[in-house]
């Protein structure tokens, strides 16, 4: 079991992600030792992206720029709750050749994060069948770590 005080927050720009950030802030602010990693993983471009003249570096730059804003916003929330900037890190990456949840799980393992946190959108069974659910995937794979799903 990895160190539970190392938190990985898998997030997007949604309000539920911000709730997850505040939840972790509340739980972690009293801990002497902690680290909070803010992570946003975005998908590869659609199959017709290149045919339409799309360029991968431009796609990634746009995604990075947008995600950079809400990750920065999350860091400000955490610092406002008394978490030192030294205990916060950020990463934005593309899920290359894998699903977003697989990428999150890989980063969790590599970084030794004992607690993975994400917001829950609340999707129908049909939506889950077609589009998946990151929170359900994380909960299903939570074997050597703890998953917090924030509603």
């Amino acid at each position: 079991m990895d160190d539970w005080q190392r938190f990985l927050i898998a997030m997007d720009k949604s309000e539920t992600s911000r709730r997850a950030v505040r939840y972790v802030g509340n739980m972690a602010c009293g801990l002497a030792e902690k680290h909070i990693h803010l992570l946003h993983v975005y998908p590869e471009p659609p199959p017709d992206f290149y045919i339409k003249g799309g360029q991968l570096d431009r796609y990634q730059m746009l995604k990075d720029e947008r995600a950079g804003l809400f990750l920065q916003d999350a860091a400000i929330i955490l610092e406002g709750m008394g978490i030192s900037g030294r205990d916060i890190s950020q990463r934005i990456c593309m899920a290359e050749g894998k699903t977003i949840s697989q990428m999150v799980l890989d980063i969790r393992r590599e970084g030794g994060f004992g607690t993975v946190v994400t917001g829950k959108r609340g999707v129908s069974k049909a939506e889950e069948f077609l589009f998946g659910s990151i929170s359900n995937a994380l909960a299903r794979h939570a074997r050597d770590f703890t998953a917090w799903i924030v509603g």
Binding site: E44, P46, D48, K125, L130
Partner: protein
């Protein structure tokens, strides 16, 4: 007078004698660049991979109940050197959306993906065979063997007079062959590839051996978190058709004299397809003799399910256990 003298000698005998050329009132044209496939006509020749393919017709395809339209990007051809019949697939970057109630999935034609599938499954009888080459304008042309078989849905209609007879005498054998086809899809997924258009008419039953072969791999979907969801959905629909030997909408149940109002009134929303709400998945209400275990697999694709299949492997393993118990 048609002048064929500028064609290579090796193709002349077949070219001169072919009805598609004899009936022409103009010079046959040679297409080395297939970008403008709508201009390629009956009696023209497509030259790729140093093979001269005479266009003798077009494949047709219709969604069920809709008139079949010729697909101009899929000409039927004859190799003028060997006489072999083939099907060519030319590059056609079509995009459209499939709607499931308020959910929308964008669908693409992806020639590169089909080419990768063809490479991967070479020699595997569970798949249509062929290879791909670039034409002079770098279009990825797929050269396909003609599948020697019959569409599965039409094949099933000939097995048994009644559903009960089909169920008793034939269904287990069909399911066993379908299981091999499901395993073949799992094999694609294990290599990061999807079929993309799994439907009951995209399985062909081999004339001689009766094994199932998948055809048509050029569709692709953008479902980053569930890349194989549409394949799974298609497999569920195929299983539904194999077990029921037809599909039932609520209206079909109502209009069937052997089912009628009583069965129709028993149908609930949770008995219908998770994604297409007019399709009955709880076949046990239609055919009470269907084993519970088999019906349970179908119900994982129904609106009332609490657990969905995550992978084709899960679906395959449950189906294999179920077949073994029948």
């Amino acid at each position: 007078m048609i002048d064929l003298s500028y064609f290579p000698l090796r193709i002349l005998p077949r070219l001169k004698d072919h009805p598609a050329v004899r009936s022409l009132r103009r010079q046959p044209r040679i297409w080395r660049d297939t970008s403008d496939f709508t201009s390629i006509d009956y009696g023209d020749i497509i030259l790729v991979d140093n093979r001269y393919f005479l266009v003798v017709g077009y494949m047709r395809e219709g969604r069920f109940g809709i008139d079949e339209q010729p697909k101009q990007w899929v000409p039927k051809v004859n190799d003028l050197e060997t006489g072999e019949s083939n099907i060519l697939k030319l590059v056609f970057h079509e995009t459209y959306s499939i709607k499931f109630e308020d959910l929308k999935v964008t669908c693409y034609r992806n020639p590169e993906k089909e080419a990768r599938v063809l490479d991967l499954v070479r020699g595997n009888p569970a798949f249509m065979q062929g290879y791909s080459v670039l034409d002079d304008a770098d279009n990825l042309v797929r050269i396909l063997d003609v599948v020697q078989g019959k569409r599965m849905d039409k094949y099933l209609q000939r097995l048994g007079e009644t559903h009960e007879e089909y169920f008793r005498d034939h269904m287990v054998g069909v399911l066993k062959r379908f299981l091999v086809a499901v395993q073949a899809i799992a094999f694609l997924h294990s290599h990061g590839l999807k079929h993309g258009d799994i439907r009951r008419d995209h399985i062909f039953v081999d004339w001689d051996s009766g094994h199932f072969s998948w055809i048509d791999f050029d569709y692709d979907f953008y479902l980053p978190e569930r890349p194989y969801a549409m394949d799974l959905f298609g497999l569920g629909n195929c299983l539904l058709y194999i077990v029921g030997r037809r599909n039932f909408r609520g209206q079909d149940v109502l209009e069937d004299p052997e089912l009628g109002e009583k069965v129709y009134a028993s149908l609930r929303m949770e008995d219908m397809s998770l994604l297409a709400r007019d399709r009955v998945f709880n076949l046990k209400k239609v055919y009470p003799y269907i084993p519970e275990r088999l019906n349970d697999i179908l119900m994982h694709f129904a609106a009332g399910t609490s657990v969905i299949y995550d992978t084709v492997d899960e679906f395959h393993d449950e189906l294999a256990d179920c077949i073994a118990s029948l």
